[in-house]
């Protein structure tokens, strides 16, 4: 149990610390692919340090909700990162929340962000919040269906149990998991405000979703939000690894496998970051009304994956 607690603490700190690095790596890959000279991989850390040293400016009309939101958001993302088995499945936190509760944690962060965005009463905040809720309500069912497919295969909604089952089965082709994987990728792009749905680097009023919501924030609040966004990306990536590439995650009680798990995590994150940058370079930003079609396709794929599971494996 003590070993588990130590592992839990180690994992939670590790995820929070490497999250900006992953963000920086994605940006570097994107710059390389687009023939720009790349910024430093450590740039997100410098940005965070700079923002923490500035004085926060808050609108006179803002309610306390506006101040709390960054902390709620950061807390939610940190909690989510603590639930997902990143390095090992032996996490004392994990039984506290299964995959459905995990989706709930993400939903709570979204609600907090949207409320805070509308709080100051600016036009952009309301616009961003509405768009974010539209994307969210389309992405959430698809996400749940994806998770259910993996849950049906392993017979549990606990992420740790899913990883244990999926990593230690004999090799078999699961068409249902392939469908769920593609659906999950589409949800990941939408939920993390990546390119076909939202552009994380733009401040153009017609297209921005996430950036419109956090336009009023500055200094330490903005730093916390940016950090939370990075943690969210890492959390989603590690959920993807847990479901679709569970190899290398250390099983319960096996401390010797930990260095291997660390190396596997690093390799997977590097590859996933490069892949994300590649996808973002390849795709163009969609019109906002096409997002509904994009996410309904994700939902369709996830449902098909689940149905095929019943048909083929039952």
């Amino acid at each position: 149990m003590n070993a588990g607690v130590a592992l839990q603490v180690l994992q939670s700190i590790l995820v929070v610390l490497i999250a900006p690095l992953v963000m920086g790596w994605v940006n570097v890959c994107r710059a390389w692919l687009q023939n720009r000279s790349a910024p430093s991989v450590w740039l997100p850390y410098y940005t965070l340090a700079k923002l923490f040293h500035k004085d926060a400016i808050i609108a006179h009309t803002a309610s306390p909700l506006f101040r709390w939101m960054p902390y709620v958001l950061f807390g939610c993302m940190w909690l989510a990162a603590g639930i997902v088995p990143v390095l090992a499945t032996d996490l004392p936190f994990a039984p506290a929340a299964d995959i459905i509760a995990l989706v709930g944690v993400f939903a709570m962060a979204r609600v907090a962000t949207a409320l805070a965005a509308m709080d100051t009463g600016t036009a952009f905040g309301g616009l961003g919040a509405r768009r974010e809720m539209m994307v969210g309500f389309l992405a959430e069912p698809a996400m749940l269906m994806t998770l259910f497919t993996a849950a049906f295969i392993s017979g549990s909604t606990q992420l740790a149990t899913i990883v244990d089952t999926l990593a230690h089965r004999e090799f078999a082709i699961y068409p249902s998991l392939a469908f769920a994987g593609v659906a999950f990728l589409m949800v990941l792009l939408a939920e993390n405000a990546r390119i076909p749905v939202d552009n994380p680097t733009t401040h153009l009023e017609l297209t921005m979703i996430h950036e419109a919501m956090i336009l009023e924030y500055s200094a330490r609040h903005l730093a916390l939000i940016e950090w939370a966004v990075a943690i969210k990306l890492v959390a989603y990536m590690t959920i993807g690894f847990a479901l679709f590439l569970p190899w290398g995650i250390a099983p319960a009680g096996d401390w010797g496998a930990l260095p291997l798990a660390l190396a596997a995590l690093g390799a997977k994150l590097a590859l996933a970051g490069a892949g994300l940058a590649f996808l973002e370079t390849l795709l163009a930003k969609m019109r906002i009304f096409l997002v509904a079609e994009f996410l309904s396709t994700a939902f369709l794929l996830a449902v098909l994956g689940m149905l095929i599971h019943f048909l083929v494996h039952a």
Binding site: P175, A178, A292, S296, L300, L301, V303, L307, L311, V312
Partner: protein, 216 residues
């Protein structure tokens, strides 16, 4: 292992059926149809290898020649000659069609489950998928307004039926398959001639105009 591969190809077949349902362009639709034929041929060949049924090799080859090469080529020529450059018009918007498609797939799976339990083939679990792709092609024929996508829907329905025959009873007798293949080819030719006549008559390939032909 081989039956898993067939399952994977079956899943791919269903995915292509949905992609065809969602597709807005005629050219891409023809490409998807060719891919569907290729998947079908691969699945048939694997079933033939797994069960030692030699006549299935012939039907796989027939599918490859006819539905991957010849008919897509004919359709390409046809839309070149007809200058069909427009995007496809649908009666329902795409997400609604997709949701209807999911409903159809669930219906087909439920329908096929008792039949599959009685069958003894290694491919029995794919029967539901075959039935679903037949129904999806049918849905595509219903929601499309123009003649060319309707014909592609018809042809892909034949693909689904073919796959259903393979998964339920390891295919029809070779004579029947040859006959069906010839019918499909001749059908494509006749449809091609039809297109020209329809357009000559109405200056459009929109089949709504044909409703005017009723006796008053």
């Amino acid at each position: 292992m081989l039956s898993q591969l067939v399952n994977l190809l079956a899943a791919l077949l269903l995915l292509i059926a949905f992609a065809m349902l969602a597709q807005r362009r005629v050219l891409t639709l023809i490409k998807l149809f060719a891919w569907q034929g290729l998947t079908l041929a691969a699945a048939t060949a694997i079933v033939a290898y797994a069960t030692g049924q030699t006549h299935l090799y012939f039907s796989a080859g027939l599918t490859l020649v006819l539905k991957v090469i010849l008919i897509p080529w004919l359709l390409h020529r046809l839309i070149d000659r007809l200058q069909v450059k427009w995007d496809i018009e649908t009666l329902l918007n795409i997400p609604t069609t997709m949701l209807a498609g999911i409903g159809l797939a669930i219906f087909a799976f439920a329908l096929a489950a008792p039949i599959a339990q009685m069958a003894s083939t290694i491919t029995r679990s794919t029967l539901g998928i075959a039935l679903a792709s037949v129904l999806l092609s049918f849905l595509m024929m219903i929601v499309r307004r123009k003649a060319v996508p309707q014909v592609i829907g018809f042809l892909s329905m034949e693909n689904g039926l073919f796959f259903a025959a393979t998964s339920a009873t390891y295919g029809m007798p070779l004579v029947v398959e040859l006959g069906v293949a010839l019918d499909v080819l001749v059908g494509t030719f006749i449809f091609g001639i039809f297109f020209f006549h329809i357009r000559e008559q109405f200056d459009s390939l929109d089949i709504r105009h044909m409703e005017k032909l009723k006796d008053e």
